[in-house]
Subunit: 467 residues, 3 copies
């Protein structure tokens, strides 16, 4: 049975002198605190601090990066626990181990191996013949107190963890954590209003009704709807939020005259808005979010360019986040112009723009970030949160925007256990990139050291106003 070997120099350049430089740069960033400015871990996980139930739920079912590639190799999502009939967790775990070869060369494998070794202290390589022994070892570990969420939070050196939250929610777990004298961490919510801003989505009317309930403001009129959103943003900010987050099919942000916005809003609530109108309203509301950011200072995170739930039958069977959200070509230069014309040089406004379309990095996003003081470039995200894409990102972006108009690393994690592995990969990759600059005599090593610590720690803290 072969063992996972986590080489201390993994992901650093092969050329010996460059590797030595990269090693020194990585050493400087390696143990800095983790600022997790964007992700999908729930605050209740830390509020409740319950042990994880089993290895399959933790490593497979919760992670669509894993389930999607297994599905691509012919494994029904139901066999992975993503359907009404749940197989025993041990079966799910065996399915992963049977397909371990499918993950060769992928970041999912790099994260999982690091988690197994560094978080769980388990080094057997997953394979059909090791599946049961690994399952048993991991199940035992999960019962230990040092593997409960709060213990992991401390051990990982997390300075602050931002969650992603429903604007109509009560943030009870966040409030409980803040009030809990036995928890010394910092867990802040993020205002994620997508479904409240797009009247083309199913359930928009029910959503704004829930918003009214949460805000205590009647959302029957457009003015009330705007006031309720402002109230909820204020509540989130009071609970520690420093960002709003926006996942949209496109980057377009185009204001409407208030009367027209109001007319579409009424039509949408009455069920009579056509797609052209609902799209116009969604684009208008993205601009409104920017306007509110100027007032309340929430950093606006924009994650555009995804067609969600590409395969309808899978969505019906397994729900959202089933691994078939697929990126789209995305336009930023014209799309963001109306928003940037209005707020691009506003002293309080800040927008962090992400992309899944790498062709936009050197063409549109770095030139925009290299001019507008309000615009920062988000880290490589989702399908691009990988060693190869990180290198392409720095190569494409640094020319026009330098290092200091990028956001620093953002983990976007769904599972607490995976956070340190993700930050570690990013710190290694940035060290590798910087080492190449040093080795080619383009940047003195002492300056590269400063940049390495900024990318890992200083920038995410400051860019997302978490300092």
């Amino acid at each position: 049975m072969s063992r996972i070997e986590l080489h201390p120099d993994r992901l650093l350049p092969a050329e010996p002198e460059t590797r030595r430089i990269a090693g020194r740069l990585y050493h400087a960033a390696r143990h800095l605190p983790i600022v997790s400015a964007h992700g999908h871990v729930e605050a209740s996980l830390l509020a409740e601090d319950k042990p994880y139930s089993d290895p399959a739920s933790l490593f497979v079912v919760a992670d669509h990066v894993v389930t999607r590639l297994l599905h691509a190799h012919g494994v029904d999502l139901e066999r992975l626990g993503l359907g009404p009939k749940k197989p025993p967790p041990r079966e799910i775990w065996r399915t992963l181990c049977d397909h371990w070869w499918a993950f060769r060369g992928t970041p999912a494998r790099e994260w999982l191996e690091a988690e197994l070794v560094e978080v769980f202290g388990v080094s057997l390589r997953p394979a059909p013949e090791t599946a049961d022994r690994l399952y048993d070892e991991l199940s035992d570990k999960l019962l230990q107190p040092e593997l409960r969420p709060r213990a992991l939070y401390r051990r990982f050196g997390v300075e602050v963890l931002a969650t992603t939250d429903d604007p109509a929610g009560d943030l009870a777990a966040h409030i409980a954590l803040a009030a809990d004298p036995t928890f010394s961490g910092r867990v802040v919510p993020t205002f994620r209003p997508d479904r409240y801003l797009d009247p083309g989505e199913v359930g928009f009317a029910a959503g704004v009704a829930a918003l009214a309930g949460a805000a205590g403001i009647d959302t029957g009129s457009y003015e009330g709807y705007i006031a309720a959103l402002e109230q909820r943003r204020g509540f989130f900010a009071a609970c520690g939020a420093t960002s709003s987050d926006h996942g949209t099919p496109e980057a377009a942000a185009i204001p409407l005259p208030a009367a027209e916005a109001s007319r579409i809003y009424r039509a949408a609530l009455a069920g009579g808005a056509v797609p052209k109108e609902t799209a116009a309203f969604r684009r208008h509301m993205l601009c409104e979010m920017a306007r509110m950011s100027c007032d309340d200072g929430l950093v606006m995170q924009l994650h555009p360019g995804v067609l969600r739930n590409h395969h309808t039958a899978t969505w019906r069977a397994a729900g959202s986040d089933g691994g078939h959200d697929i990126p789209l070509a995305t336009e930023y230069t014209r799309s963001l112009r109306p928003l940037l014309e209005r707020y691009g040089t506003h002293p309080r406004f800040r927008i962090v723009v992400f992309t899944l379309d790498e062709s936009t990095l050197s063409r549109e996003l770095a030139p925009l970030a290299g001019f507008y003081p309000s615009l920062y470039l988000g880290a490589p995200w989702w399908f691009l949160d990988t060693p190869g894409a990180m290198r392409r990102y720095r190569t494409a972006v640094t020319d026009s925007a330098g290092f200091y108009k990028t956001s620093g690393f953002v983990d976007d994690a769904r599972v607490l256990c995976s956070i340190p592995a993700r930050h570690d990969v990013a710190r290694r990759c940035d060290a590798a990139y910087l080492a190449r600059l040093v080795a080619e005599h383009r940047l003195p090593e002492e300056e590269a050291l400063e940049v390495a610590t900024e990318l890992a720690y200083g920038l995410p803290r400051r860019v997302f106003r978490l300092a």
Copy 2:
């Protein structure tokens, strides 16, 4: 007169330790049998087994990669044998040798040099002063029995060779080869119906009439047309075909209601279909091909995104394949959705998608292949069948789709002699890519060895159902 030096380590990484690893990986893949799953060599070449006529026809006239770059440097295509007036082959060969400098840094030169040295045993570097001597040496060689097509097929270690064929053809050469006890190779046809599926193309009506003749089914009605296509697919499958192949300007596949398809079909035959209708019909028929694949198991190869015959005057003078087919930006996420909604998880359906638009690799194609069990990612193709593009392909694709949702190498060769050189370049480049993963401690060498042999041999065999 300088000589071609084929260094044994060519295309392997320069860094010494990485090169040693790459050398070991390449060694494992180097001599595996060749599975040529997609290409344009004619079956009659092997059925007839005649000697090649002359070096110019073989190395210049038949290869649009060569003629196009000579044309770009001001050589009329007529001087290269691509017009009504044919110059003497020796003159064509001299023209190539006069412009050898133009091929510096291109894959065409890498293939040609490897062919000269490894197939013909000739190592003079082409140049004005070597042209005649080379021409004479090559002409002599071409008369030798070991350079006739069947001898080359054996010597190259070809396990199976897929040709590209007209659905109305009789596959006589394939049938003859299969029946010939003196030929032990395997040559299979591929069903390539482009001109029968697009009523916007000149000659559509004549084409479906030919189809009727071949199938023995009246294609006067839409139902008959569909039945004739199904009959021809069945005939191809019976003759050994495992794939259909589709070259289209775009990836869109959108089904029409049968009545609407039938209406457009009738209008097209009557010469009365407008471009919007013929495009809708073409998109519909791509979906129909997928439907038929679910039944007959032919793997659907999709090669979209080319504007054919960009320069009309050249097309009139020199015909198709004149070197001025130019790629277009291509969209897959929305375009393939209707097809994938219907057949994307069908257990028998398989589609291998190629692209000439590299921006789609990380953005659309790898995410699609990383979810849909039916969808595989084709190898870098045509303008991208090059060492640089192969490396970019693996870097862009592996993150989301791993190695095992790619098709393995596909040579797309027009000339039998060039097949081993093309596979050799791919095996070297994949070894180089894998060696970097090993050198950066991202993949153990024993696993990289397995991947190297899969990419070279196992995957094309299985993905194209040639095993």
Copy 3:
């Protein structure tokens, strides 16, 4: 106070053997004369030969690559001298020194450091504590005769310098320089007619009136307008011009029937052309420029794909070239087809096509340049005039177009002092690219040496008809 260290091997590959090869290739190209075939230095600078006024005007105010990134870090453009109220130059210089960290990893820093050390002999690293001392040192230097424009021109080894000029201008400075026996250089104008070709631009009517004045031809009719443009091109050619230059939002070039062009022209002069018409006219006129090129032999440089003046408030306050021109996705295959159908194989026609959209390099531009004898691929430009983009350019382009269908380096400089640094970076990067080919045994070193000198010197001379 730390010092700038310009390492002799900067930008060459880190791997030792590859670096040695690159060093030899760079050595061959390093001291070749500079052919500056496209840029924005004014001829009057050399005609007048006045000393530069101060370091801030030279290094900051005139360079939008510098001002835009300072603006992105919150510095008002007015504080950088780009507004009605000019701060003292020393203050502007201090602002740059305060933000030197922001330029880490950017080409702007590489150019500036090389200029400071190699042109001015100053090696203090810019920083808040060195700002005043540097300012004083540089101010002293600027008074020395060897730092006046003509002395720099000589010292830099410029063989020919092409400026960018208004078709209605009198080219007085060019004429004066040509007649000046004390100036032995060669300064040629470039015909840049953008504002005279787009009736959608403000001031079109005034522009064609000025054209009439310059040409002595009434532009009240379309025929007169065409004749005036032809006259001005002829005048430019007589003054040494070898190129026209075209900056457009898109690459589309679509001829109109003369009657339709004439109709729109009249409507535009009367202020009655709608945007659809003015765009059609602009596309038509790009084709007309190609037609004229066939007659007068001016090389047509095409620089498409930029949305100029993205932030209107900044444009109002600071004018054009304020650093907020932002690239757009650009299409070439279909857009250039009408022009190439007509003139693509014309023996006198030549077009050099640039791009800011890297996704088009392997997909559209290299395939076009690899077929059409008239079409050359321009060097990486503007946001892409960087070490990283140069490498991506060669990797994407060489496969289909080789080295000899690219234009060789074009500096696009606004400041005379920056010209040698820009050419030096390009020569280093091309040497690095070629050295990798040599180290991977893809090109013999003696051929790579030839290519290195061609890219640096031979190609720009011949491609822009400056030989």
